[in-house]
């Protein structure tokens, strides 16, 4: 057998799955003692050029509570044309179409190399993809010009039949009608008034009166499609028109007096965008792309008032409960995000400004819907321009690297339960026998909705071992997990991707070395980091850090080899050797550190953490790769090469989004020698010293000391 490293890599390449533990402890208690939970990173739509989709429906287990998909792990009786579900052991008849199967004539889904398989199914009408641009006009002339050009350029990148719409906002919100001849027409909304979806649809004239109003006039043919297309038109029809419209776009004309911020109605603009799509194309793949150049300053969702003398909230204000708009705004955007998720649409946020733009409050819009979040200094930077362009990049097979409205369902064999997921998803609240009562992340469900995803979107899924210590799973058994992802492909096809994996059970007492050897420290670091970030969202920073530290120490105690109270004797096996370093960088990263970061930046990094976190861990050694943070996909290979020389580069490193800014890089590069010890450091996030971070060496020393301490 190859090394675990190879095994891990191979599994990831085939299935897009990485487990923290590749041999599973066979009882609940043991699993808990492993410190790092049994969990996996799943990249549902991992790019698989070698995986041709099959053109038929998957075969499902007939047990209503199971409905697992036929997979290579199933026992098949070729003579009786029966198959046994490997999750519930239900024996199922093959459907008539499978009459001809035999050992030598197997359908793809039974072949071991197709542990991941994709079905193309015919469900409902196919609707073109929808792109709704929501554009801030309170920008500097230069910024607006750059943004306009980017948007105009993007029209050529869209699929020709995609529907596109334009909403501009500043003090007011304009929903542009795109099919007008002779006069350009837009519906205007006040930026200070929150409207219900119904009101928005009424005001946009999207709801038709039930009865024709007047008699004596020819009844007009029902024109439902026409209605929808007033604001959303196929690109090929109106690209000229829209190009002109974008070209004529002016800065928000309302005067901004000295000492004021422009009035920016981001909250209502988003609300209208959501309402528009909700009314016209529910459950259809659609991106709301918000381009904003500053914080929302009025109406629902406002983050800061228009007085420049009042600065936007800082972490300090938030700690002091002094951010007067934050809660209300966050609630506004959360409501919107949830509505958007319900409709299966996603929201991208492209925020380019030197100051904060309210990402903290708006983050859920991208987080919950699987949208992109890009933060930059200006729309007139290559950072934005290239990032934006890459959104429309095509994959290896010439398809857009985006998918919509995915429904991820996880099925487990009986020994496992699902504790939760962390990633750009929302719960669908589907309870079932395999759902654990203990939640880690978004739990209490076996299904999640991921409104926008691409081949890199990765979710962390946490499991729980069911069996009690006194009734462990018999040795040699295998646990199985099936991931079923139904989604709308960028080609507008409906597809289902099914991944089924299995891992061996092992008794942690007798076979700890097996389990240890099968530890995936990179995956584990990410999984722990996700948990940490998830907690950071709701808890105080130092608490999370302490929790992380404790976990790390416990892990070292569990798996380290040392003599008690002798730090110098401390050794970790190879499979754990890098893990403490990862943790060191994690705790210093902007994901968890708010010092020197604005709330927006924290939100930004945390958002990315869910996807593209890992490169951060290594970059203290590579300041020469500063461009790495500016360039995204293109230098991926370069970056990967470099990174791989340092760390085994995890598969899910895809730097699709903009990196940090130089100050962060520099502040991370070379932690100064410092007098502070570990504990003091963690609590001084507010101190005005530029950096009092410990160096890695100090950190490791402390770690060793604590790990070997008998007091711990």
């Amino acid at each position: 057998m190859a090394t675990y490293l190879e095994f891990i890599q191979q599994n990831e390449e085939r299935d897009g799955v990485r487990f923290s533990w590749n041999v599973w402890p066979s009882s609940r208690l043991e699993a808990t003692r492993m410190v790092v939970p049994l969990a996996c990173l799943l990249t549902p739509l991992r790019e698989r050029p070698d995986l041709p989709p099959v053109q038929y429906e998957p075969v499902l287990c007939s047990r209503p509570t199971c409905k697992a998909v036929l997979n290579p792990l199933c026992q098949v009786d070729y003579r009786a044309k029966l198959w046994a579900c490997n999750f519930c052991f239900q024996r199922n008849q093959f459907p008539p179409a499978y009459a001809g199967i035999s050992e030598v004539n197997q359908p793809a889904e039974l072949m071991p190399q197709f542990s991941t398989i994709e079905y193309i199914v015919q469900r409902g009408p196919q609707t073109p993809l929808i792109f709704l641009y929501v554009v801030d006009t309170c920008l500097e002339e230069e910024d607006l010009q750059a943004l306009k050009e980017s948007l105009q350029m993007s029209l050529s990148l869209l699929p020709a039949d995609a529907l596109v719409g334009l909403i501009t906002f500043g003090r007011m919100i304009q929903v542009h009608e795109l099919s007008c001849e002779g006069i350009s027409k837009s519906y205007v909304f006040r930026g200070t008034k929150d409207l219900t979806a119904k009101q928005i649809q009424d005001m946009l004239g999207l709801s038709r009166p039930a009865v024709p109003i007047q008699q004596g006039r020819p009844l007009q043919a029902p024109e439902q499609p026409v209605i929808s297309s007033r604001f959303l038109q196929p690109v090929h029809k109106i690209d000229m028109n829209l190009t002109d419209l974008l070209g004529e776009l002016q800065r928000d004309p309302w005067p901004v007096t000295q000492g004021k911020r422009p009035l920016r109605s981001t909250g209502v603009a988003l609300s209208i965008a959501v309402g528009l799509l909700e009314g016209t194309f529910p459950n259809t793949g659609a991106r709301i792309m918000l381009f904003t150049g500053g914080p929302p300053t009025q109406g629902p969702g406002m983050v800061v008032g228009d007085e420049l003398k009042t600065p936007i909230r800082s972490w300090h204000d938030i700690e002091k409960d002094n951010a007067r708009f934050m809660k209300k705004a966050t609630k506004h955007y959360e409501t919107l995000a949830n509505r958007t998720a319900t409709n299966g649409h996603c929201i991208d946020i492209y925020a380019c400004a030197l100051d904060q733009t309210g990402l903290l409050e708006m983050k859920c819009c991208a987080n919950l819907t699987g949208g992109h979040m890009v933060m930059g200094d200006s729309f007139n930077t290559s950072l934005f321009k290239q990032t934006f362009q890459r959104v429309f990049n095509k994959g290896l097979n010439g398809e857009f690297r985006m998918a919509f409205g995915a429904n991820l369902e996880v099925k487990t064999s009986r020994e496992l339960k699902i504790a939760g997921a962390i990633g750009p998803c929302v719960s669908l609240n589907v309870k079932g026998p395999c759902v654990s009562e203990n939640e880690l992340g978004i739990g209490g469900t076996s299904q999640w909705k991921i409104c926008g995803l691409d081949p890199c979107t990765t979710l962390a899924i946490y499991f729980e071992v069911v069996n009690q210590h006194n009734a462990p799973i018999p040795q040699g058994g295998r646990g199985a997990v099936q991931f079923v992802t139904q989604y709308q492909h960028s080609s507008t096809q409906k597809r289902i991707r099914v991944t089924t994996i299995a891992r061996n059970w092992a008794d942690a007492q007798s076979q700890l070395q097996h389990i240890e050897a099968a530890f995936d420290q990179e995956a584990a670091a990410v999984l722990m980091a996700r948990l940490g970030v998830y907690r950071a969202e709701s808890e105080e920073g130092p608490d999370v850090l302490r929790w992380l530290d404790r976990q790390l120490i416990r892990l070292c105690q569990k798996f380290g080899q040392y003599n008690k109270d002798d730090p110098n004797s401390f050794r970790l096996s190879e499979s754990f050797s890098l893990y403490p370093q990862f943790m060191f960088h994690l705790r210093r990263s902007p994901f968890l550190q708010v010092f020197n970061n604005s709330p927006d930046e924290s939100s930004y990094y945390r958002h990315h953490f869910t996807i593209a976190q890992w490169q951060k861990a290594g970059y203290q050694d590579m300041p020469e790769y500063e461009n790495f943070k500016h360039l995204l996909q293109a230098p991926l290979d370069d970056a990967q090469e470099i990174l791989q020389t340092r760390f085994p580069m995890p598969r899910y490193v895809h730097t699709e989004h903009g990196g940090s800014q130089a100050r962060f890089l520099l502040s991370k590069v070379n932690p100064s020698q410092t007098h502070n010890n570990l504990y003091a450091w963690g609590q001084e996030s507010g101190a005005p010293i530029l950096t009092d971070d410990v160096s890695l060496q100090v950190f490791m020393d402390h770690l060793k000391k604590l790990a070997v301490s008998s007091a711990a």
Binding site: I183, G205, I213
Partner: protein, 1038 residues
């Protein structure tokens, strides 16, 4: 109480405890009972005379009888004394015994006899009783009782059906000599005894005899019947005649009207408005009227003359009800003559009169009295060698600012007296400084916003296209200052149905941009830059837009509209642009769409003549009031062009227009072909009008009296500042004054009206009008200088304002009672002693009764279901802002004979009195009242006249569809057209010409304007009303 008689306004106010009850309310208590009868039979009759009427009187059929005072009225001595000159000149003796006059063929003769017949042989008592009888009949005529009485006379309607001249002959035939009288006489005695008409009627066995149909015919030549006093005979019949008119309100009316010429009180013998007008024309017309003397009475509004400002404001700007104020408030209360000024601060002056001088003191600004803030004017007295001046208004001594110092001449007048308009003229303007500007910033030029209802109806009728096409040319005619090349006024465009569409027409756009605002609940302006533009600069974009609008909505099926949000939007737009301006709203329907100011159809005829009738004139929802306030606060004037097909609730829709100094135009059932010229002329005129924006007016007075009430298209936030979002040349504010103290005869009563406004070019200015009136301790002086036309203007406005809070009945009663009081006071204090029964009218007021009667007959004060509520609300609103000339014409239309024109002369023919009797079958007449114009053609109009006018061979060929006379190349046609043009000239509203042929259906409409006749809606004829007033006066004198 006496104060109520002094001026009409206070009585209307609810706070007057006695106003509510009508019997107690009007006039001095002793007389009030009498007036109480007007319109309220039931309550009235118990009060006056216990023994008179019986409870047995069936309600409704009987008009309550007036009190029966002992025979004090000597009708035989009845004189209509028209001032000193006219006094005693026309004693009208009506000798004929009143023969019963059967007005309808089917009418039972007996009934005719019943009423007039008087049992009394004693002349005095007879007369009084007759008089009373008459009064009671009158009563019938006014209130609901008229209606009620109708049902009793079942025979009536049929008999009166159809307009035919027949009755006339019948009347004449029915002039029976005395013999017929006795039976009635008997009845009459019964009547007297019972004091109840209906009873009497029953005695006669005539159903429904409450109707006084019995027309007693008075032929002057007839010998009085036995036992009849001639006068009484005269009156009796005459009143009976009036009674006939009331049934006339029912279908039979017109017939009645068409048969007036009983020879009763000779109409020519009672004061003629036409005569008064013509007399004034001939004595003062064409001359120069110099305003150099305090308290001089100007020529009538109907008289053309050249006015020279020599220290007092031209009567074009200010007219007063009297030019000599009584010295004391006691006198004023006694006379009850309203002391009021009708101020038309922006009145148009003819080309040949001097426009206002503009005084510019630079940064120093206007010179004002330190105490009362009055502006420098000819009433300031310079003293101490010119170093100081004494304010004519508050007597404060002020220092003369150094830059303004000038020496005095030998008569104490500044040497530069004639060089400075503010020292020598009654009217002039000041350039205002920043202190007079909003936020101390110079104002921006005003803006006009055109807001077009593009709902289905307006698109379908072609109206939208018409407006858009017209605007393309009209926008070149925006008003500008004389010296400027082009107008500074910016324009903006909005269309709407149940949502609003704003348009960006910025000059650099390739095509206009439309911005839809659907949030009508909280409307806002979606754009700033590009909404209001200079037409010259944005011409191509604007024209592009105006071309597109009709097409854009060509296939609309939106029939619901909003209204209040439209105004709101316009107002917000002006506010955002920081300028004042006018909205031109073209609207057609009741705004029923879900939005603020949404209205429902609340027109309810059942409310007529109830205490709730007033609600019909009040806005339906409160939001319009606050909208009006906001508009005024932001200098947003709302001009409303309405094109209703049905009830649109003008009381609500027009409210903002009313309070913002806007103008309301209404085109019922707008038809593109026939109504376009009228509408377009109105629109053009309105756009071109010289207007002051964002105006605030203050009226200051010299000590002893002050302005207490204001009427007009204005808004009052407090008791002194008259706010007007805009004020144009046609808008007049009527200001009422009251005494604070005794007035000094030497210094007189001085009035200064200052209007601060923004000019069309965006300059902040003050327009000052000064006028000095005399004061006198002699009532005769007061009466001598009264101006009836101004009085009517005041009465109309105060009454029309009062109907918002008072029942119609009360308002009418007050009008009658005040008229009687004013005349009675004159009679008592100024006229030479004569018998009480003589009607003596002051010369300056001799046509007051006819005008008051016209006012009473106006649709606003007539609660009849046939008159659409909107029409009443519309007239009410128009009158509220009218000047004296406009009210004069509106209440007493001009009736011009055009069949016997002197084609060689340029002159407009002399008008004739507005009465059926003045028409002739062979004649053609033009009638105009400022809103409507008729061309009435008698059946025998000469064919050559018809040919000349219409280019058709005969009467039958004339189409009454046309609303314009054809342009024909003959002198006759040209002459008529020039007359029509002359009539139309300077009138605020374009009159649509209606062609009416004698004895065709539309004639009904025309007849309503013959205001001296009985009205089909129940109004009394002039003669009847005069008698009624006379009787009231007699009551008062006793």
């Amino acid at each position: 109480m006496s104060q109520q008689g002094y001026v009409t306004a206070p009585p209307y106010s609810q706070s007057q405890p006695r106003m509510g009850g009508f019997s107690a309310g009007f006039g001095p208590p002793n007389s009030s009972l009498h007036y109480g009868h007007y319109g309220d039979p039931n309550s009235s009759h118990a009060a006056p005379q216990p023994g008179m009427s019986k409870p047995t009187v069936p309600l409704g059929s009987s008009a309550p009888l007036g009190p029966l005072p002992p025979g004090t009225h000597q009708f035989s001595q009845n004189n209509f004394q028209s001032g000193a000159s006219a006094a005693g000149q026309q004693p009208h003796r009506f000798q004929s015994p009143p023969p019963p006059n059967n007005t309808g063929p089917s009418y039972p003769p007996s009934s005719l006899h019943s009423q007039p017949a008087s049992p009394h042989t004693a002349s005095t008592s007879c007369t009084t009783q007759l008089a009373n009888q008459l009064n009671s009949m009158q009563i019938n005529s006014y209130g609901p009782s008229a209606i009620q009485s109708s049902h009793t006379s079942s025979g009536h309607p049929a008999s009166f059906q159809g307009p035919q001249p027949l009755p006339l002959t019948q009347h004449q035939m029915a002039l029976p000599p005395g013999p017929q009288i006795p039976p009635p006489a008997n009845n009459f005695s019964g009547l007297c005894a019972q004091s109840s008409l209906p009873n009497m009627a029953r005695q006669d066995g005539i159903p429904g005899s409450g109707l006084p149909n019995p027309n007693l015919q008075q032929l002057p030549g007839q010998t009085p019947g036995p036992g009849y006093h001639p006068q009484q005979g005269n009156y009796g019949p005459q009143m009976a005649g009036s009674q006939l008119s009331y049934p006339g309100a029912f279908p039979g009316g017109p017939a009645q009207l068409s048969g007036p010429p009983q020879k009763r009180l000779d109409p020519d013998s009672i004061p003629s408005p036409i005569q008064v007008i013509e007399n004034d024309k001939s004595s003062r017309g064409g001359q120069i009227y110099a305003t150099n003397t305090r308290g001089q009475v100007p020529p009538l509004v109907t008289t053309d003359c050249l006015i020279q400002d020599q220290g007092h404001a031209s009567p074009r700007y200010i007219r007063c009800t009297t030019y000599c104020f009584p010295s004391t408030s006691d006198m004023a209360k006694q006379a009850r003559i309203p002391l009021a000024a009708v101020i038309q601060p922006f009145a148009t002056v003819p080309q040949n009169e001097t426009p206002l001088y503009v005084v510019n003191h630079g940064e120093a600004g206007p010179i004002r009295c330190n105490r009362c803030k009055a502006y420098m004017c000819p009433f300031m007295q310079f003293i101490e060698g010119g170093r100081r001046y004494q304010c004519g208004f508050c007597n404060c001594i002020n220092d003369v600012p150094p830059f303004f110092f000038q020496h005095l001449d030998h008569i104490g007048r500044r040497v530069d007296h004639y060089e400075r308009p503010e020292l020598s003229l009654g009217s002039y303007e000041y350039v205002a400084t920043l202190d007079y500007c909003r936020n101390n910033k110079p104002p921006n030029p005003p803006a006009y916003i055109f807001m077009i209802d593009v709902s289905y109806r307006n698109i379908n009728s072609g109206l939208v296209k018409l407006i858009c096409d017209e605007l393309k040319t009209l926008l070149d005619k925006l008003p500008r200052e004389e010296q400027e090349e082009s107008s500074a006024i910016r324009v903006g465009f909005v269309t709407y149905n149940k949502v609003l569409h704003f348009f960006n027409v910025k000059s650099n756009l390739a095509q206009p941009q439309m911005m839809v605002v659907s949030d009508v609940g909280e409307v806002f302006v979606p754009l700033l830059d590009g909404f209001l533009v200079n037409f010259q600069e944005s011409r191509s974009v604007v024209n592009n837009l105006l071309d597109q609008i009709p097409e854009m909505f060509a296939d609309t099926n939106e029939s619901e509209t909003i209204f209040a949000p439209v105004i709101q939007a316009g107002m917000e737009a002006l506010k955002a642009a920081e300028c004042a301006g006018k909205l031109f709203i073209f609207h057609s329907s009741l705004p029923t769409a879900e939005a603020p100011g949404k209205l429902r159809n609340r027109d309810d005829k059942k409310l007529l003549n109830t205490d709730k009738e007033k609600t019909l004139f009040q806005p339906q929802v409160n939001s319009y009031e606050s909208l009006a306030r906001d508009c005024v606060a932001n200098g947003c004037c709302v001009n409303l062009f309405l094109f209703p097909n049905q009830y649109v609730d003008i009381a609500s829709l027009g409210l903002v227009t009313m309070h913002t100094g806007g103008t309301l135009y209404k085109y019922n059932n707008f038809q593109l072909n026939s109504d376009s010229p009228q509408f377009l002329t109105d629109l053009r005129r309105d756009i071109e009008k010289k207007t002051g924006f964002d105006a605030i007016m203050r009226v200051r007075t010299s000590t002893g009296f002050r302005a207490t009430d204001f009427f007009g298209a204005i808004y009052m936030n407090n008791t002194t500042d008259v706010e007007m979002a805009a004020v144009d040349c046609d808008k007049a504010v009527t200001v009422e004054f009251k005494h604070d103290d005794k007035l000094n005869e030497d210094s007189g009563a001085l009035i200064q009206c200052a209007v601060l406004y923004t000019s069309i070019s965006g300059q902040r200015r003050l327009r000052i009008h000064n006028i000095g009136l005399n004061c006198s301790t002699q009532l005769a002086d007061v009466y001598k200088t009264c101006e009836t036309d101004a009085l009517i203007n005041f009465f109309a406005k105060s009454a029309f304002k009062a109907i918002l809070s008072q029942p119609l009945k009360a308002v009418r009663e007050i009008l009658v009672s005040q008229t009687a009081h004013m005349l009675a006071c004159y009679r008592k204090n100024c006229a030479s002693p004569s018998a009480v029964s003589q009607l003596i009218l002051p010369d300056a007021m001799k046509v007051l009764p006819v005008y008051v009667n016209c006012l009473l007959k106006s649709s606003v004060l007539t609660g009849r279901p046939e008159i659409p509520t909107d029409e009443r609300a519309y007239h009410r609103q128009l009158v509220m802002s009218m000047g004296v000339a406009d009210t004069q014409l509106f209440f007493y239309p001009q009736l011009l004979p055009i069949h016997n024109l002197d084609l060689k002369s340029d002159a407009v023919p002399a008008a004739v009195r507005c009465s059926e009797e003045r028409l002739s079958e062979g004649g053609a007449f033009i009638l105009a009242n400022g809103l409507s114009m008729f061309l009435w053609l008698g059946v025998s109009t000469p064919p050559e006249l018809i040919q000349g006018l219409f280019n058709v061979p005969s009467f039958a060929h004339i189409s009454t569809e046309a609303t314009l006379l054809p342009d024909l190349a003959n002198t006759y046609s040209k002459k008529i057209k020039s007359i029509v043009e002359h009539i139309q000239n300077q009138k605020p509203y374009t009159m649509k010409l209606m062609i009416v042929k004698q004895r065709e259906q539309p004639e009904m409409l025309f007849r309503q304007f013959l205001v001296e006749d009985k009205s089909i809606h129940g109004g009394a004829s002039y003669v009847d009303f005069l008698c009624c007033v006379h009787k009231e006066i007699c009551q008062l004198l006793n």
